[in-house]
Amino acid sequence: MTDKEPRLLLFHAPLLRQDMTTPRTMRDVIVALLPATAAAVWYFGLGAVLVLAASILGAAVAEWLFAPRASRGASLRDGSGLLTGLLLGLTLPPGLPMWMAFLGGFVSICLGKVIWGGLGHNLFNPALLGRAFLLATFPIAMTTWPVITPGEFGVQAGNLALPFMQAGADGVSGATPLGLFKFEQQVTPLAELAFGKIGGSIGETSGALLLLGGVYLWIRRDLDWRIPVSILATVALFSLVLVLFDAERFPAPLFSIFSGGLLLGAIYMATDPVTSPVTPKGAWIFGIGVGVLVMLIRVFGGLPEGVMYAILLMNAATPLIDRYTQPRVFGHEAESS
């Protein structure tokens, strides 16, 4: 036996692992987003495809460019960059010039991931960071909503603007349900909100399909259910209280939940494990915080929509939340810190 004797390997226990892997989580989220993406393409046509492609490309280029030489390509394969590009694309208006979407994807990865040290180290949701950057940079293009034309697979007027140039004369511009409510006191019917025949970002058209994807993720154990549940519950409760004061002026709970990017944000962005608290108690606090901020911005703020800002702000608070919600350790009395 001595001559065949292998040099033994020293690898620290445990030697067993469960099946879940990080790239699989990323793939699951992408799969969960597919129905809503397909619906968006149906409603918005080729424009949506172009915007999504541009933002994904932007993310991939940045990912490739800034990866350390040794792991170049590896960071692309884990799917997180792709997911960031897709999520960003879903939060953009379908008529956005492609170069802006590309820039957004690029900035998402640079500002949202690379400078922090890559996947797992970022403290803000990269996709939302990219969107916040775009919204602050191109406020007009980012709030120009084309009129919806289901089944017509045309390109939107703005999509093809030359790099660094304006989208040209803005054509007929639609409005989002939240904008309509906030500035013109018009309520969009719930059925339209749930199934998507509404203006707005690419990904927020169909609330029902977003929920479907969320259920899929929950079944696959890919998401911390506490966060979406607490966000949606807080928003509903907040709305309910306001409606009890003045049903005319304030939005109804279901309208609040299904309008705007709340479902997209609550299910796919706020639950980004990297940027949300890791402790269960922290997850509740995080969700409640997002819910309150969303309603605060939507109802009392100057903007019709606040999901993005709410999540980013709570991202900023996540280290603090995590720090002060450490679980009680077995055999220790609950600590009061």
Partner: protein
């Protein structure tokens, strides 16, 4: 133009008022502290860099005055500045001898063999907890660069033989590497101590040399060749006792069969092969 009068009047008034208030406050709120602390702080560079191990210059000054640290521990100050502090505080500057970190092992990947292969998180201590890290010699350098990462001054770099090479110019003799090494191989030695034992194996004879080509086999030749008392054998390893023996001379290393005891010029592990050839 009564402005010409109001302005100076107001200014002087405010100046006098607050001057008085502060003067009174100074008297009643004064914290009794050693005036030398403030004076010492003035002499320090004020960079609050923390390289001395204190949170800032003021705490360092406090410790200086209390005699807990030596002026030389401020790595940022120039020699003159340190002298002036030492003079002011009437203490020893504490920079008599330059110490550098030396590794008590010369068994790199060429000399010492592995019995098993470590897989996992890169780092000596991390490897050491997994059944010793797989190196045949249980006392030797694992070569996974914990010291390189721990060094604040970028003075340690792993060489091609998998051993940490200390840049004696950059080394400030802080104890970072000493603390980082899981096998306790680093020690701070005066730069001008040329005679050095670079092995840590407590085994003797073949048991030791089987593990590592440059292991000390406890033959005792160095002790015999050196000035009486300079080197004694303890736990199968030579121990250099500068106090007991005369000034060390390079003869002690000539007959060492494994190069476990060496005569260092400046850096460790540098051109050992050539030196060996010359000595032979």
């Amino acid at each position: 133009m009564n402005n010409l009068l109001t302005a100076p009047a107001i200014m002087t008034g405010i100046g006098l008022f607050f001057g008085t208030v502060l003067a009174v406050a100074q008297r009643f709120l004064r914290v009794d502290e050693d005036p030398r602390i403030e004076a010492t702080n003035e002499l320090l560079p004020g960079t609050n860099c923390g390289a001395c191990g204190q949170p800032g210059c003021l705490p360092f000054a406090e410790k200086l005055v209390a005699g807990e640290v030596e002026p030389g521990q401020c790595t940022v100050s120039t020699d003159e500045a340190i002298e002036s502090i030492a003079e002011f505080l009437q203490v020893d500057a504490g920079r008599a001898e330059k110490l550098v970190a030396r590794l008590r092992c010369a068994g790199g990947s060429r000399q010492a063999h592995q019995i098993a292969e470590y897989r996992g998180f890169e780092g000596c201590r991390a490897a050491a907890v997994v059944s010793g890290g797989g190196k045949g010699c249980a006392w030797g350098c694992l070569g996974l660069a914990d010291c390189e990462r721990a060094c604040t001054f970028d003075a340690i770099h792993m060489n091609a033989n998998g051993l940490p090479q200390v840049d004696t110019e950059k080394c400030r003799a802080c104890p970072d590497c000493v603390a980082a090494c899981p096998k306790d191989l680093f020690e701070l030695v005066p730069l001008n101590q040329h005679l050095y034992v670079q092995c840590n194996i407590p085994l003797a004879g073949e048991a030791a040399t089987q593990l590592c080509a440059t292991a000390c086999d406890a033959c005792g030749r160095c002790a015999a060749d050196a000035a009486p008392g300079l080197i004694r054998m303890e736990g199968n390893l030579p121990v250099i006792d500068l106090a007991a023996g005369g000034p060390p001379a390079p003869e002690a290393v000539y007959r060492c069969p494994t190069n476990a005891i060496v005569w260092l010029d400046r850096e460790q592990f540098q051109d050992q092969e050539t030196r060996k050839a010359r000595n032979a």
